[in-house]
Protein backbone atom coordinates (compact mmCIF):
# COMPACT_ATOMS: atom_id res chain seq x y z
CA UNK A 1 0.00 0.00 0.00
CA UNK A 2 2.85 2.33 0.74
CA UNK A 3 4.10 1.85 -2.80
CA UNK A 4 1.46 4.13 -4.24
CA UNK A 5 3.03 5.29 -7.48
CA UNK A 6 0.76 8.26 -8.15
CA UNK A 7 -1.49 6.60 -10.72
CA UNK A 8 -3.02 9.93 -11.74
CA UNK A 9 0.02 11.01 -13.68
CA UNK A 10 0.86 7.61 -15.14
CA UNK A 11 -1.79 6.87 -17.72
CA UNK A 12 -5.56 7.14 -17.67
CA UNK A 13 -7.46 7.20 -14.42
CA UNK A 14 -9.62 4.26 -13.34
CA UNK A 15 -12.39 6.61 -12.25
CA UNK A 16 -12.94 10.13 -13.48
CA UNK A 17 -16.03 11.97 -12.28
CA UNK A 18 -16.88 15.61 -12.70
CA UNK A 19 -20.12 17.40 -11.89
CA UNK A 20 -22.01 14.32 -10.69
CA UNK A 21 -25.48 15.11 -9.34
CA UNK A 22 -27.83 12.59 -7.76
CA UNK A 23 -31.08 13.92 -6.34
CA UNK A 24 -33.85 12.06 -4.56
CA UNK A 25 -36.80 14.39 -5.08
CA UNK A 26 -35.67 17.85 -3.96
CA UNK A 27 -32.73 16.54 -1.94
CA UNK A 28 -29.39 16.60 -3.78
CA UNK A 29 -27.45 13.77 -2.14
CA UNK A 30 -24.51 14.23 -4.52
CA UNK A 31 -24.08 17.84 -5.53
CA UNK A 32 -21.74 18.37 -8.51
CA UNK A 33 -19.14 16.02 -7.13
CA UNK A 34 -15.66 15.60 -8.62
CA UNK A 35 -13.49 12.56 -7.94
CA UNK A 36 -10.56 10.88 -9.66
CA UNK A 37 -9.05 7.53 -8.74
CA UNK A 38 -5.85 6.30 -10.38
CA UNK A 39 -5.32 2.73 -11.58
CA UNK A 40 -4.36 0.53 -8.64
CA UNK A 41 -4.98 3.32 -6.17
CA UNK A 42 -6.66 2.47 -2.85
CA UNK A 43 -9.04 5.24 -1.83
CA UNK A 44 -11.07 5.24 1.37
CA UNK A 45 -14.25 7.26 1.38
CA UNK A 46 -15.43 8.44 4.78
CA UNK A 47 -18.28 10.68 5.74
CA UNK A 48 -21.13 11.09 8.12
CA UNK A 49 -24.33 9.13 7.91
CA UNK A 50 -26.34 10.39 4.94
CA UNK A 51 -23.36 12.15 3.35
CA UNK A 52 -23.88 10.22 0.11
CA UNK A 53 -21.11 7.59 0.43
CA UNK A 54 -23.25 4.63 -0.55
CA UNK A 55 -25.04 6.63 -3.23
CA UNK A 56 -21.71 7.42 -4.91
CA UNK A 57 -20.69 3.77 -4.71
CA UNK A 58 -23.96 2.62 -6.25
CA UNK A 59 -23.53 5.07 -9.13
CA UNK A 60 -20.02 3.73 -9.80
CA UNK A 61 -21.28 0.14 -9.56
CA UNK A 62 -23.87 0.90 -12.23
CA UNK A 63 -26.77 -0.28 -10.07
CA UNK A 64 -28.21 3.21 -9.62
CA UNK A 65 -30.58 3.53 -12.56
CA UNK A 66 -31.65 7.10 -11.80
CA UNK A 67 -28.50 9.28 -11.93
CA UNK A 68 -29.66 12.91 -12.20
CA UNK A 69 -26.76 14.31 -14.20
CA UNK A 70 -23.00 14.57 -14.75
CA UNK A 71 -20.41 16.27 -16.91
CA UNK A 72 -18.15 13.28 -16.97
CA UNK A 73 -18.62 9.84 -15.50
CA UNK A 74 -15.86 7.42 -16.48
CA UNK A 75 -15.65 4.12 -14.67
CA UNK A 76 -14.23 0.87 -15.97
CA UNK A 77 -16.54 -1.74 -17.44
CA UNK A 78 -15.05 -4.40 -15.20
CA UNK A 79 -16.19 -3.35 -11.71
CA UNK A 80 -16.68 -5.66 -8.73
CA UNK A 81 -18.66 -4.86 -5.62
CA UNK A 82 -18.35 -6.15 -2.06
CA UNK A 83 -21.45 -5.28 -0.06
CA UNK A 84 -21.77 -4.93 3.69
CA UNK A 85 -23.63 -8.23 3.77
CA UNK A 86 -21.79 -11.00 1.96
CA UNK A 87 -24.82 -11.43 -0.30
CA UNK A 88 -24.14 -15.02 -1.24
CA UNK A 89 -26.92 -16.85 -3.05
CA UNK A 90 -28.09 -19.32 -0.37
CA UNK A 91 -29.06 -21.95 -2.96
CA UNK A 92 -25.59 -22.14 -4.52
CA UNK A 93 -22.54 -23.86 -3.10
CA UNK A 94 -19.47 -21.72 -2.40
CA UNK A 95 -17.71 -22.44 -5.69
CA UNK A 96 -20.85 -21.64 -7.71
CA UNK A 97 -21.25 -18.42 -5.76
CA UNK A 98 -17.68 -17.40 -6.56
CA UNK A 99 -17.97 -18.23 -10.26
CA UNK A 100 -21.50 -16.75 -10.62
CA UNK A 101 -21.83 -15.43 -14.16
CA UNK A 102 -18.35 -16.54 -15.24
CA UNK A 103 -18.33 -18.60 -18.40
CA UNK A 104 -15.76 -20.33 -20.49
CA UNK A 105 -13.17 -22.96 -19.71
CA UNK A 106 -11.21 -22.65 -16.51
CA UNK A 107 -13.96 -20.82 -14.63
CA UNK A 108 -14.06 -23.56 -12.01
CA UNK A 109 -10.30 -23.66 -11.57
CA UNK A 110 -10.19 -19.88 -11.21
CA UNK A 111 -12.99 -20.02 -8.65
CA UNK A 112 -11.22 -22.71 -6.64
CA UNK A 113 -8.00 -20.68 -6.75
CA UNK A 114 -9.84 -17.58 -5.55
CA UNK A 115 -11.38 -19.56 -2.67
CA UNK A 116 -7.93 -20.84 -1.74
CA UNK A 117 -6.62 -17.26 -1.81
CA UNK A 118 -9.10 -16.23 0.88
CA UNK A 119 -8.23 -19.30 2.97
CA UNK A 120 -11.25 -21.44 2.10
CA UNK A 121 -9.57 -24.15 0.04
CA UNK A 122 -11.50 -27.42 0.14
CA UNK A 123 -14.78 -25.74 1.08
CA UNK A 124 -16.00 -25.50 -2.54
CA UNK A 125 -19.05 -27.69 -1.91
CA UNK A 126 -20.19 -26.08 1.36
CA UNK A 127 -23.45 -24.12 1.54
CA UNK A 128 -23.30 -20.43 2.54
CA UNK A 129 -25.49 -21.11 5.59
CA UNK A 130 -22.74 -23.32 7.03
CA UNK A 131 -20.24 -20.43 7.19
CA UNK A 132 -19.55 -17.79 9.83
CA UNK A 133 -20.02 -14.11 8.96
CA UNK A 134 -16.30 -13.56 8.42
CA UNK A 135 -16.03 -16.62 6.17
CA UNK A 136 -19.02 -15.48 4.12
CA UNK A 137 -17.40 -12.09 3.61
CA UNK A 138 -14.22 -13.86 2.48
CA UNK A 139 -16.24 -15.73 -0.14
CA UNK A 140 -17.67 -12.37 -1.27
CA UNK A 141 -14.08 -11.09 -1.63
CA UNK A 142 -13.17 -14.16 -3.68
CA UNK A 143 -16.24 -13.62 -5.89
CA UNK A 144 -15.12 -10.03 -6.52
CA UNK A 145 -11.46 -10.73 -7.19
CA UNK A 146 -11.93 -13.78 -9.43
CA UNK A 147 -13.24 -11.32 -12.03
CA UNK A 148 -9.90 -9.43 -11.97
CA UNK A 149 -11.70 -6.09 -11.68
CA UNK A 150 -10.11 -2.79 -12.65
CA UNK A 151 -12.15 -1.19 -9.90
CA UNK A 152 -13.16 -2.82 -6.62
CA UNK A 153 -15.98 -1.11 -4.76
CA UNK A 154 -16.52 -2.02 -1.13
CA UNK A 155 -19.45 -0.65 0.87
CA UNK A 156 -18.53 -0.96 4.56
CA UNK A 157 -17.52 -4.57 3.90
CA UNK A 158 -16.35 -5.23 7.45
CA UNK A 159 -19.06 -3.25 9.24
CA UNK A 160 -20.95 -6.33 10.37
CA UNK A 161 -17.88 -8.26 11.60
CA UNK A 162 -16.45 -8.43 15.09
CA UNK A 163 -13.27 -6.50 15.89
CA UNK A 164 -10.90 -9.50 15.73
CA UNK A 165 -12.27 -10.79 12.44
CA UNK A 166 -12.11 -7.25 11.07
CA UNK A 167 -8.37 -6.96 11.78
CA UNK A 168 -7.72 -10.25 9.98
CA UNK A 169 -9.87 -9.15 7.06
CA UNK A 170 -7.86 -5.90 6.80
CA UNK A 171 -4.65 -7.89 6.40
CA UNK A 172 -6.29 -10.18 3.85
CA UNK A 173 -7.71 -7.30 1.81
CA UNK A 174 -4.36 -5.48 1.75
CA UNK A 175 -2.59 -8.66 0.65
CA UNK A 176 -5.14 -9.41 -2.10
CA UNK A 177 -5.07 -5.84 -3.41
CA UNK A 178 -1.28 -5.91 -3.60
CA UNK A 179 -1.50 -9.08 -5.68
CA UNK A 180 -4.35 -8.11 -8.03
CA UNK A 181 -3.85 -4.33 -7.98
CA UNK A 182 -7.37 -3.11 -8.75
CA UNK A 183 -8.26 0.49 -8.04
CA UNK A 184 -10.25 0.40 -4.80
CA UNK A 185 -12.95 2.63 -3.40
CA UNK A 186 -13.64 1.57 0.17
CA UNK A 187 -16.62 3.18 1.86
CA UNK A 188 -16.22 3.13 5.63
CA UNK A 189 -17.22 5.07 8.71
CA UNK A 190 -14.16 3.92 10.61
CA UNK A 191 -11.32 6.44 10.41
CA UNK A 192 -8.78 3.89 11.69
CA UNK A 193 -9.80 1.43 9.00
CA UNK A 194 -9.38 4.15 6.39
CA UNK A 195 -5.89 5.09 7.61
CA UNK A 196 -4.81 1.46 7.98
CA UNK A 197 -5.74 0.47 4.44
CA UNK A 198 -5.82 3.39 2.04
CA UNK A 199 -3.34 5.37 -0.05
CA UNK A 200 -5.71 8.29 0.06
CA UNK A 201 -8.63 9.23 2.30
CA UNK A 202 -11.47 11.27 0.84
CA UNK A 203 -14.04 12.92 3.10
CA UNK A 204 -17.52 13.35 1.69
CA UNK A 205 -19.72 16.05 3.16
CA UNK A 206 -23.02 17.46 1.88
CA UNK A 207 -22.62 15.70 -1.46
CA UNK A 208 -19.14 17.04 -2.23
CA UNK A 209 -15.56 16.08 -1.50
CA UNK A 210 -14.71 18.10 1.62
CA UNK A 211 -11.14 16.81 2.07
CA UNK A 212 -8.70 14.75 0.06
CA UNK A 213 -5.74 13.47 2.07
CA UNK A 214 -2.90 11.35 0.69
CA UNK A 215 -1.51 9.05 3.35
CA UNK A 216 2.25 8.69 3.27
CA UNK A 217 2.75 6.79 6.52
CA UNK A 218 5.09 3.78 6.13
CA UNK A 219 3.57 0.34 5.67
CA UNK A 220 2.86 -1.01 9.17
CA UNK A 221 0.74 1.93 10.24
CA UNK A 222 0.95 1.70 14.01
CA UNK A 223 -1.80 3.62 15.79
CA UNK A 224 0.75 4.70 18.42
CA UNK A 225 2.87 6.97 16.24
CA UNK A 226 2.49 10.77 16.49
CA UNK A 227 1.94 11.08 12.70
CA UNK A 228 -0.91 8.59 12.90
CA UNK A 229 -2.50 10.43 15.81
CA UNK A 230 -2.23 13.77 14.02
CA UNK A 231 -3.78 12.37 10.83
CA UNK A 232 -6.57 10.73 12.78
CA UNK A 233 -7.35 13.90 14.70
CA UNK A 234 -7.35 15.91 11.48
CA UNK A 235 -9.78 13.53 9.72
CA UNK A 236 -12.07 13.38 12.74
CA UNK A 237 -12.17 17.18 12.85
CA UNK A 238 -13.19 17.24 9.21
CA UNK A 239 -15.97 14.82 10.07
CA UNK A 240 -17.14 17.23 12.71
CA UNK A 241 -16.03 15.18 15.72
CA UNK A 242 -14.52 17.07 18.65
CA UNK A 243 -11.13 15.35 18.97
CA UNK A 244 -10.74 16.29 22.65
CA UNK A 245 -13.73 14.11 23.37
CA UNK A 246 -12.85 11.40 20.86
CA UNK A 247 -10.23 9.52 22.79
CA UNK A 248 -8.23 6.95 20.76
CA UNK A 249 -10.32 4.01 21.97
CA UNK A 250 -13.50 5.54 20.56
CA UNK A 251 -13.50 3.98 17.14
CA UNK A 252 -16.87 4.66 15.64
CA UNK A 253 -17.40 8.02 14.02
CA UNK A 254 -21.07 7.41 13.60
CA UNK A 255 -23.65 4.81 14.30
CA UNK A 256 -23.49 2.04 11.75
Amino acid sequence: MATHAGGLSTGTAAVHITGLVRAFGERRVLDSLDLTIGPGEFVALIGRSGSGKSTLLRVLAGIDHGVTGFERLDAPENVSVVFQDARLLPWKRLLENVTLGLTGPGAHERGATALAEVGLAGRERAWPVELSGGEQQRVALARSLVREPELLLADEPFGALDALTRIRMHALLRQLCERHRPAVLLVTHDVDEAIALADRVVVLDAGRIAADQTISLPAPRAPGSPEYAALRADLLTRLGVDTDVAAPEVKEVEEA
Binding site: G62, F83, L89, P90, G101, W127
Partner: protein, 282 residues
Amino acid sequence: MTTTEAPSNAPPEVARPPAPPRRRRRRLGPGRPVPYGWAIGPLLLLAIWSVGSAAGWIDERNLSAPWEVVATARELTEDGRLQENLWTSAQRALAGLGFGVAAGLVLAVVAGLSRLGEGVIDGPVQIKRSIPSLALIPLLILWFGIGETMKIVTITLGVLVPIYVHTHNGLRTIDSRYVELAETVRLNHLQFLRHVVLPGALPGFLLGMRFAVTNAWLALVVVEQVNATSGIGYMMELARTYGQTDVIIVGLVVYGLLGLVSDGLVRLVQRRALSWRRTLAD
Protein backbone atom coordinates in the same frame (compact mmCIF):
# COMPACT_ATOMS: atom_id res chain seq x y z
CA MET B 1 -32.25 -19.87 42.78
CA THR B 2 -32.27 -20.76 46.46
CA THR B 3 -29.69 -18.37 47.85
CA THR B 4 -32.30 -16.18 49.52
CA GLU B 5 -33.11 -18.91 52.03
CA ALA B 6 -31.45 -18.82 55.41
CA PRO B 7 -28.71 -21.38 55.92
CA SER B 8 -30.74 -24.38 56.93
CA ASN B 9 -29.81 -26.84 59.62
CA ALA B 10 -33.04 -28.79 59.12
CA PRO B 11 -32.76 -32.56 58.65
CA PRO B 12 -32.10 -33.65 55.05
CA GLU B 13 -35.42 -35.55 54.83
CA VAL B 14 -37.33 -32.26 54.81
CA ALA B 15 -39.94 -32.17 51.99
CA ARG B 16 -38.42 -30.72 48.86
CA PRO B 17 -40.42 -28.67 46.32
CA PRO B 18 -42.34 -31.06 44.03
CA ALA B 19 -40.42 -30.19 40.84
CA PRO B 20 -36.73 -29.34 41.06
CA PRO B 21 -36.04 -26.07 39.25
CA ARG B 22 -34.78 -26.78 35.75
CA ARG B 23 -32.49 -24.37 33.99
CA ARG B 24 -33.32 -25.60 30.52
CA ARG B 25 -35.13 -23.26 28.20
CA ARG B 26 -38.42 -24.29 26.71
CA ARG B 27 -37.92 -25.61 23.22
CA LEU B 28 -40.01 -23.68 20.71
CA GLY B 29 -39.37 -25.70 17.54
CA PRO B 30 -41.44 -28.86 16.92
CA GLY B 31 -38.68 -31.09 18.29
CA ARG B 32 -37.06 -34.25 16.98
CA PRO B 33 -38.80 -36.18 14.18
CA VAL B 34 -40.86 -39.20 15.29
CA PRO B 35 -39.92 -42.38 13.37
CA TYR B 36 -42.71 -43.20 10.87
CA GLY B 37 -44.62 -40.27 12.31
CA TRP B 38 -46.49 -39.75 9.05
CA ALA B 39 -48.22 -43.16 9.50
CA ILE B 40 -49.81 -42.40 12.89
CA GLY B 41 -52.92 -40.62 11.60
CA PRO B 42 -53.80 -43.07 8.76
CA LEU B 43 -53.25 -46.11 11.04
CA LEU B 44 -55.51 -44.60 13.70
CA LEU B 45 -58.28 -44.15 11.11
CA LEU B 46 -57.84 -47.73 9.95
CA ALA B 47 -58.04 -48.98 13.53
CA ILE B 48 -61.30 -47.12 14.22
CA TRP B 49 -62.77 -48.45 10.98
CA SER B 50 -61.78 -52.08 11.77
CA VAL B 51 -63.08 -51.98 15.35
CA GLY B 52 -66.32 -50.33 14.21
CA SER B 53 -66.94 -53.00 11.54
CA ALA B 54 -66.03 -55.94 13.78
CA ALA B 55 -68.26 -54.72 16.59
CA GLY B 56 -71.12 -54.14 14.18
CA TRP B 57 -71.36 -50.40 14.87
CA ILE B 58 -70.92 -49.69 11.16
CA ASP B 59 -73.73 -50.95 8.88
CA GLU B 60 -72.27 -52.96 6.01
CA ARG B 61 -74.64 -51.28 3.54
CA ASN B 62 -73.08 -47.93 4.42
CA LEU B 63 -69.47 -48.99 4.71
CA SER B 64 -67.95 -52.41 4.03
CA ALA B 65 -65.47 -53.83 6.50
CA PRO B 66 -61.74 -53.32 5.74
CA TRP B 67 -61.15 -57.07 5.12
CA GLU B 68 -64.01 -57.19 2.61
CA VAL B 69 -62.51 -54.21 0.82
CA VAL B 70 -59.18 -56.07 0.70
CA ALA B 71 -60.90 -59.17 -0.73
CA THR B 72 -62.69 -57.08 -3.37
CA ALA B 73 -59.43 -55.33 -4.24
CA ARG B 74 -57.82 -58.74 -4.76
CA GLU B 75 -60.66 -59.86 -7.02
CA LEU B 76 -60.50 -56.63 -9.02
CA THR B 77 -56.76 -57.02 -9.37
CA GLU B 78 -56.98 -60.66 -10.40
CA ASP B 79 -59.42 -60.00 -13.24
CA GLY B 80 -57.33 -56.96 -14.27
CA ARG B 81 -60.11 -54.38 -13.99
CA LEU B 82 -58.37 -52.34 -11.30
CA GLN B 83 -55.05 -52.05 -13.14
CA GLU B 84 -56.76 -51.18 -16.40
CA ASN B 85 -58.83 -48.39 -14.86
CA LEU B 86 -55.92 -47.18 -12.75
CA TRP B 87 -53.69 -46.92 -15.81
CA THR B 88 -56.32 -44.89 -17.70
CA SER B 89 -56.76 -42.57 -14.72
CA ALA B 90 -53.03 -42.16 -14.20
CA GLN B 91 -52.51 -41.26 -17.86
CA ARG B 92 -55.14 -38.52 -17.63
CA ALA B 93 -53.78 -37.16 -14.37
CA LEU B 94 -50.18 -37.14 -15.59
CA ALA B 95 -51.04 -35.46 -18.88
CA GLY B 96 -53.05 -32.77 -17.09
CA LEU B 97 -50.33 -32.36 -14.49
CA GLY B 98 -47.65 -31.98 -17.17
CA PHE B 99 -49.54 -29.38 -19.17
CA GLY B 100 -50.70 -27.54 -16.05
CA VAL B 101 -47.25 -27.33 -14.46
CA ALA B 102 -45.64 -26.13 -17.70
CA ALA B 103 -48.33 -23.51 -18.31
CA GLY B 104 -48.41 -22.33 -14.68
CA LEU B 105 -44.64 -22.03 -14.57
CA VAL B 106 -44.36 -20.07 -17.81
CA LEU B 107 -47.21 -17.74 -16.83
CA ALA B 108 -45.70 -17.17 -13.36
CA VAL B 109 -42.26 -16.34 -14.77
CA VAL B 110 -43.68 -13.96 -17.39
CA ALA B 111 -45.94 -12.26 -14.84
CA GLY B 112 -43.14 -12.12 -12.28
CA LEU B 113 -40.49 -10.61 -14.53
CA SER B 114 -42.49 -8.04 -16.46
CA ARG B 115 -45.07 -5.52 -15.29
CA LEU B 116 -46.95 -5.80 -18.57
CA GLY B 117 -47.01 -9.58 -18.28
CA GLU B 118 -48.40 -9.31 -14.78
CA GLY B 119 -51.11 -6.94 -15.96
CA VAL B 120 -52.16 -9.30 -18.71
CA ILE B 121 -51.89 -12.63 -16.86
CA ASP B 122 -52.57 -12.08 -13.19
CA GLY B 123 -56.20 -10.96 -13.48
CA PRO B 124 -57.50 -13.89 -15.55
CA VAL B 125 -55.69 -16.44 -13.36
CA GLN B 126 -57.16 -14.89 -10.21
CA ILE B 127 -60.63 -15.05 -11.81
CA LYS B 128 -60.11 -18.70 -12.72
CA ARG B 129 -58.98 -19.31 -9.17
CA SER B 130 -62.38 -18.33 -7.80
CA ILE B 131 -64.31 -20.57 -10.22
CA PRO B 132 -64.46 -24.26 -9.23
CA SER B 133 -63.45 -26.72 -11.94
CA LEU B 134 -66.83 -28.43 -11.62
CA ALA B 135 -68.61 -25.22 -12.64
CA LEU B 136 -66.53 -25.00 -15.82
CA ILE B 137 -67.32 -28.52 -16.99
CA PRO B 138 -70.58 -27.71 -18.85
CA LEU B 139 -68.74 -25.10 -20.91
CA LEU B 140 -65.72 -27.35 -21.49
CA ILE B 141 -68.02 -30.16 -22.70
CA LEU B 142 -69.58 -27.77 -25.21
CA TRP B 143 -66.14 -26.70 -26.42
CA PHE B 144 -64.23 -29.98 -26.37
CA GLY B 145 -66.95 -32.67 -26.34
CA ILE B 146 -67.00 -35.46 -23.79
CA GLY B 147 -63.76 -37.11 -24.88
CA GLU B 148 -60.26 -37.14 -23.40
CA THR B 149 -59.50 -33.53 -24.40
CA MET B 150 -62.17 -32.14 -22.07
CA LYS B 151 -60.89 -34.26 -19.19
CA ILE B 152 -57.27 -33.26 -19.64
CA VAL B 153 -58.14 -29.57 -20.07
CA THR B 154 -60.13 -29.66 -16.82
CA ILE B 155 -57.22 -31.22 -14.92
CA THR B 156 -54.76 -28.78 -16.52
CA LEU B 157 -56.81 -25.80 -15.36
CA GLY B 158 -56.95 -27.20 -11.83
CA VAL B 159 -53.17 -27.71 -11.76
CA LEU B 160 -52.22 -24.41 -13.38
CA VAL B 161 -53.70 -22.21 -10.66
CA PRO B 162 -51.73 -23.36 -7.58
CA ILE B 163 -48.51 -23.62 -9.60
CA TYR B 164 -48.99 -20.07 -10.86
CA VAL B 165 -50.01 -18.56 -7.51
CA HIS B 166 -47.18 -20.07 -5.46
CA THR B 167 -44.43 -19.73 -8.07
CA HIS B 168 -45.41 -16.12 -8.74
CA ASN B 169 -45.40 -15.38 -5.03
CA GLY B 170 -42.02 -17.08 -4.56
CA LEU B 171 -40.62 -15.12 -7.46
CA ARG B 172 -41.89 -11.78 -6.27
CA THR B 173 -40.48 -12.29 -2.79
CA ILE B 174 -36.91 -12.90 -4.03
CA ASP B 175 -34.71 -10.45 -2.12
CA SER B 176 -33.99 -7.37 -4.25
CA ARG B 177 -30.41 -7.49 -2.95
CA TYR B 178 -29.87 -10.59 -5.09
CA VAL B 179 -31.14 -8.69 -8.12
CA GLU B 180 -28.56 -5.98 -7.37
CA LEU B 181 -25.88 -8.61 -7.04
CA ALA B 182 -26.88 -10.12 -10.39
CA GLU B 183 -26.51 -6.68 -11.95
CA THR B 184 -23.05 -6.12 -10.46
CA VAL B 185 -21.75 -9.48 -11.72
CA ARG B 186 -23.38 -8.60 -15.06
CA LEU B 187 -25.60 -11.65 -15.54
CA ASN B 188 -27.58 -11.64 -18.77
CA HIS B 189 -31.32 -12.31 -18.75
CA LEU B 190 -30.94 -16.05 -19.25
CA GLN B 191 -28.28 -16.39 -16.53
CA PHE B 192 -30.38 -14.26 -14.19
CA LEU B 193 -33.35 -16.55 -14.78
CA ARG B 194 -31.28 -19.69 -14.27
CA HIS B 195 -29.13 -18.71 -11.28
CA VAL B 196 -31.36 -16.31 -9.35
CA VAL B 197 -35.02 -16.35 -10.40
CA LEU B 198 -35.75 -20.06 -10.76
CA PRO B 199 -33.81 -21.28 -7.70
CA GLY B 200 -35.25 -18.38 -5.68
CA ALA B 201 -38.79 -19.32 -6.71
CA LEU B 202 -38.22 -23.06 -6.20
CA PRO B 203 -39.56 -23.22 -2.62
CA GLY B 204 -42.76 -21.53 -3.80
CA PHE B 205 -43.00 -23.74 -6.87
CA LEU B 206 -42.65 -26.93 -4.83
CA LEU B 207 -45.33 -25.79 -2.39
CA GLY B 208 -47.55 -25.10 -5.41
CA MET B 209 -46.63 -28.55 -6.70
CA ARG B 210 -48.04 -30.19 -3.56
CA PHE B 211 -51.37 -28.47 -4.11
CA ALA B 212 -51.21 -29.17 -7.85
CA VAL B 213 -50.73 -32.92 -7.41
CA THR B 214 -53.72 -33.12 -5.07
CA ASN B 215 -55.75 -30.96 -7.45
CA ALA B 216 -54.92 -33.24 -10.37
CA TRP B 217 -56.42 -36.25 -8.58
CA LEU B 218 -59.41 -34.22 -7.40
CA ALA B 219 -60.16 -32.96 -10.91
CA LEU B 220 -59.78 -36.53 -12.14
CA VAL B 221 -62.54 -37.71 -9.79
CA VAL B 222 -64.81 -34.98 -11.06
CA VAL B 223 -64.28 -35.62 -14.78
CA GLU B 224 -64.44 -39.39 -14.48
CA GLN B 225 -67.75 -39.35 -12.66
CA VAL B 226 -69.34 -36.90 -15.06
CA ASN B 227 -68.73 -38.62 -18.34
CA ALA B 228 -66.43 -41.55 -18.71
CA THR B 229 -66.36 -45.18 -19.78
CA SER B 230 -63.09 -46.05 -18.04
CA GLY B 231 -61.01 -45.02 -15.09
CA ILE B 232 -61.25 -45.35 -11.32
CA GLY B 233 -64.04 -42.78 -11.13
CA TYR B 234 -66.10 -44.68 -13.71
CA MET B 235 -65.53 -47.92 -11.80
CA MET B 236 -66.87 -46.25 -8.64
CA GLU B 237 -69.80 -44.67 -10.44
CA LEU B 238 -70.77 -48.09 -11.81
CA ALA B 239 -70.50 -49.61 -8.34
CA ARG B 240 -72.85 -46.95 -6.99
CA THR B 241 -75.52 -48.12 -9.43
CA TYR B 242 -75.25 -51.66 -8.04
CA GLY B 243 -74.82 -50.58 -4.41
CA GLN B 244 -71.34 -52.16 -4.09
CA THR B 245 -69.85 -50.13 -1.24
CA ASP B 246 -66.77 -52.37 -1.20
CA VAL B 247 -65.87 -51.38 -4.78
CA ILE B 248 -66.49 -47.72 -3.96
CA ILE B 249 -64.19 -48.01 -0.97
CA VAL B 250 -61.51 -49.68 -3.11
CA GLY B 251 -61.75 -46.69 -5.46
CA LEU B 252 -61.54 -44.24 -2.58
CA VAL B 253 -58.54 -46.05 -1.09
CA VAL B 254 -56.81 -46.03 -4.47
CA TYR B 255 -57.45 -42.28 -4.83
CA GLY B 256 -56.24 -41.74 -1.28
CA LEU B 257 -53.09 -43.79 -1.80
CA LEU B 258 -52.35 -42.01 -5.08
CA GLY B 259 -52.68 -38.66 -3.34
CA LEU B 260 -50.54 -39.76 -0.41
CA VAL B 261 -47.80 -41.29 -2.57
CA SER B 262 -47.61 -38.33 -4.95
CA ASP B 263 -47.52 -35.85 -2.07
CA GLY B 264 -44.76 -37.95 -0.49
CA LEU B 265 -42.82 -37.84 -3.75
CA VAL B 266 -43.07 -34.06 -3.96
CA ARG B 267 -41.97 -33.72 -0.33
CA LEU B 268 -39.00 -35.97 -1.02
CA VAL B 269 -38.01 -33.78 -3.94
CA GLN B 270 -38.57 -30.73 -1.74
CA ARG B 271 -36.22 -32.04 0.95
CA ARG B 272 -33.49 -32.87 -1.53
CA ALA B 273 -33.82 -29.74 -3.68
CA LEU B 274 -33.98 -27.35 -0.74
CA SER B 275 -31.18 -28.85 1.33
CA TRP B 276 -29.49 -25.44 1.38
CA ARG B 277 -32.13 -24.09 3.72
CA ARG B 278 -32.02 -24.16 7.48
CA THR B 279 -35.59 -24.04 8.71
CA LEU B 280 -37.78 -24.55 11.74
CA ALA B 281 -38.33 -28.19 10.81
CA ASP B 282 -34.61 -29.08 10.92
